[in-house]
Amino acid sequence: MLQFIFNRFLTMIAMMLALSFVCFFIIQLPPGDVISAYAAELAASGDSGGLVVEQLRERYGLDQPFYVQYLKWVRNLLIGDLGYSFNLSKPVSEIISGRIGISLLVECMALVVLWGIAIPIGIYSAVRRYSAGDIFATIFGFIGLAVPNFLLALLIMYAVFIFTGTAVEGLFSAEYANAPWTPGRIWDFLTHVWVPVLVISTGGAAHIIRILRANLLDELGKPYVVTARAKGMAESRLIMRYPVRVAMIPLVATVGWVLPTIISSSIVTAIVLNLPTLSPILLRSLLSQDMHLAGALILFMGMLTLVGTLISDMLLIWIDPRIRTGMMDA
């Protein structure tokens, strides 16, 4: 088992390296380099700034071959230097650290809501198959899969605007935007945050409900359920203790794709709702080809899912004795 954990850990490191390479590739993609874009901008604003440009070029080693630049970039990453955003005139690390807390908070809340909605509905749907509730859940599932996140966000905004005349944008009202956390601000936050959380979790929840329902229906027909019934257990207790327990195991493994989905949909949603998270910054940096900032953000979001997947694998070992005892591969 230790070896399994060790192997997983190594896999994650390898994936992080691959990810960093992809991100660096994206950074390098646009024709020309950041400095020349910056220089062009400087020139346009009438500032010759030739010396600064030369210094910058040297600092980032832009005259060197691709792999040397890459290695330098990685080395800088490791010591916490994520580069410099020319558009925002700030170090990338500063920009990220300023918004990361709220980003993670919204994403974690979405994750909790996702599981909180999906698990009870999935269990109910499978156990009461073809009941009105199941049919309703199935319809919800299909719609949830079919409505794009940005459209759902638009629709909610539109509906709220029509009914209350207020725009649900951002995460705070203007007066709380930069205030310290007080009960008032928390309440204000909660009145705003439900929209993005709802939007982000819908698609994933619909998917999880379908998976859980199918898994549980499979498990409900297994012989060990009959065995438990033959013992004289009450049906409700039996279902929670045996088939649900088994059907939940593969769900833990789906964290591996739930996280990428959550991050992806949170980006689109945050842009539509103009949340003070990292996502609008990513969009802005990409539109202005501020590639160092964008690359760092993409790297960061990728890392987040990789770490999350690793945690879910560890969880899997913990809850599935078949993997724990080395009987089965994860």
Binding site: Q3, F6, N7, L10, T11, A14, K222, P223, Y224, V226, T227, A228, R229, A230, K231, G232, M233, A234, E235, Y242, R245, V246, I249, I319, D320, P321, R322, T325, M327, D329
Partner: protein, 578 residues
């Protein structure tokens, strides 16, 4: 009238008690499944009694309704519904409760399950929870029905495991089912069913999924526990051999009805129903005792050697991990050597995992071997090593050596018609015209006993036995000399099995074939083969004349294997000595 009196007489002589006490009385029980617009009755008005301290075997082929009946007794036959009839359960004081009148979910019904009636199922692996230890599952049963502390229940669970002879029960209790061997798993299952010492144990094909030696152990265990605890057992099986070994009384089921019920002696020695005679006839052909020869012609003395296998080794490797590879090796075949003469039938027997299927798959080149040779003398006198890569295809030997697979459902491509399936080897020869091939295929179908109007049908329209006939026709298409039958009759019910074996004999005498017949059922192999090779853990432990291997085995393992084969005569039991 006379029959009934006789039955009573026999009961009186075999049962120690003069008046057997009824513990369960089933009357006019009908069970049905609701389809969309109608109810399909799968059990039709059956009646039987279970007496205290007896083993009642319910025997029938697949689909006869025996398992549904067993589940209905516990009211866990969902989605099957009890349509009418009564199931009366009597206690010591003679009070009775009618199970059909209880609500499936009610507390009263649940108090019966596990406490008064215990149940053991066919697949111990899937019948135990994969994510709970066996201890957790047994303790749970005890706590459901007994008012005691968890610690005390654990002690009881350990006792229950000890009772079924699981070694070191204190450690075994914390194991998961997949950490135990098949036999141990089934013991744990029995321990769980008996943890509350029920009056009745229902065992639903408890040994069908087990190897023959393990089956013998489990049968002995059930018999011993039954007399120790004085309980009644309803034993459901399709195997007449098992019935002959354990039953006190037998109920024969066919198409949802009980065609005959009586003491085991009566059923075996004076069967009244045609179906019972048919069942007994099908199983009694395959005995390992007696000196009968196989039905076909014996190979001539000094027939020339066809195949000579020397020191065959094969290892399965499985590697795990990405950076730090761990390779686990499994020696599937260890130094296997044997030979096959022309016109001979060689049987290869062994339990699951013994390497018998691996051996034949290696011989036809479906698996790669590590070392060894398999020299084959072809029809025109040339000699080839079958273990060379693609030997069959390169030397054109796939006309001479053909194979029939175990599973009649997966060995025929469901997307090809019968004609296409059988014609495939002919098409590959690229020298026959289309009409020739069609004529030949029709001829082949005729030969294996299928009408030629099935040519354009797809395999899914056929039953297991018919599919196996199609497989045989495919094997015969190119005039083979040797047919390898890998458990070719294992998936078939008793009577169909006899017919397929007879067909193989007929073909042999007509076409001068040799067979390598792989099987786990010693009786069938003994019936079909001239010589038998016994395999165990990848080694060939013994090879010799069929009769001498079966009657005078030399190796310990062979003795154990032979000793575990159920007999066919209840008055001459092989496994259970009373």
């Amino acid at each position: 009238m006379q029959l009934i009196r006789m039955a009573q007489m026999i009961e009186v002589t075999t049962m120690p008690e003069t008046h057997p006490k009824k513990v369960l009385e089933v009357r006019d029980l009908s069970i049905g499944f609701s389809m969309q617009d109608r109810v399909v009755e799968v059990v039709k008005k059956i009646s039987f009694d279970v007496n205290q301290g007896e083993i009642l075997c319910v025997v029938g082929e697949s689909g006869s309704g025996k398992s549904v009946t067993a589940r209905a007794l516990m009211r866990i036959a969902r989605p099957g519904k009890i349509l009418n009839g009564s199931i009366r359960l009597y206690d010591d004081a003679g009070r009775c409760v009618d199970i059909t009148e209880l609500d499936e979910q009610s507390e009263d019904m649940r108090a019966v399950r596990g406490d008064r009636i215990g149940m053991v199922f066919q697949e111990p692996m899937s019948s135990l929870s994969p994510v709970h230890t066996i201890g957790e599952q047994i303790i749970e049963t005890i706590l459901l029905h007994r008012n005691m502390t968890a610690g005390k229940a654990r002690q009881e669970a350990i006792e229950a495991l000890r009772r079924v002879q699981i070694p070191d029960p204190e450690t075994a209790i914390d194991k998961y089912s997949f950490e135990l061997s098949g036999g141990m798993r089934q013991r744990a299952m029995i321990a769980m069913a008996l943890s509350c010492e029920p009056e009745i144990l229902i065992a639903d094909e408890p040994t069908t999924a087990l190897d023959v030696t393990t089956q013998a152990e489990i049968l002995r265990l059930i018999k011993r526990l039954q007399s120790e605890l004085g309980m009644s057992v309803i034993f459901i099986t399709h195997d007449m051999g098992v019935v002959a070994e354990v039953a006190d009384r037998v109920a024969v089921m066919y198409h949802g009805e009980i065609t005959e019920i009586g003491t085991v002696e009566q059923i075996f020695h004076k069967p009244a129903a045609k179906y019972t005679r048919h069942l007994i006839g099908a199983s009694s052909r395959f005995t390992i005792t007696g000196d009968q020869d196989r039905g076909g012609t014996l190979p001539r003395d000094g027939a020339k050697k066809m195949l000579e296998v020397r020191n065959l080794n094969l290892t399965f490797r499985k590697s795990t991990g990405i950076l730090f590879r761990k390779v686990t090796e499994f020696n599937a075949l260890k130094d296997v050597s044997f030979s096959l003469a022309e016109g001979e039938n060689l049987g290869i027997v062994g339990e699951s995992g013994s390497g018998k299927t691996t051996l034949v798959r290696a011989l036809v080149g479906l698996l790669k071997t590590d070392s060894g040779t398999a020299m084959y003398q072809s029809d025109d006198g040339r000699e080839f090593d079958l273990l060379q890569p693609n030997a069959l295809r390169n030397a054109g030997l796939n006309r001479e050596i053909r194979m029939v697979f175990q599973d009649p459902f997966s060995s025929l491509n469901p997307r090809m018609t019968v004609e296409q399936v059988i014609a495939e080897p002919l098409v590959m020869e690229r020298k026959h015209s289309r009409s020739d091939i069609r004529k030949r295929v029709a001829n082949l179908l005729d030969r294996v006993g299928l009408p030629s109007n099935v040519l354009s049908r797809y395999p899914h329209a056929f039953s297991g036995g018919q599919r196996q006939r199609i497989s045989i026709a495919r094997a015969l298409a190119v005039n083979p000399r040797m047919i390898i039958a890998d458990e070719a009759t294992s998936a078939l019910d008793g009577s169909i099995r006899s017919q397929i074996l007879d067909l193989l004999f007929d073909l042999q005498s007509e076409l001068g074939l040799s067979y390598m017949f792989v099987g786990h059922d010693l009786g069938v192999v003994r019936y079909f083969c001239d010589r038998i090779a016994v395999m165990h853990n990848g080694s060939l432990v013994e090879i010799g004349d069929a009769a001498s291997v079966c009657q005078r085995p030399e190796r310990d393992y062979t003795k154990q294997l032979i000793g575990a084969v159920p007999g066919t005569d209840p008055s001459n039991r092989r496994l259970i000595l009373t």
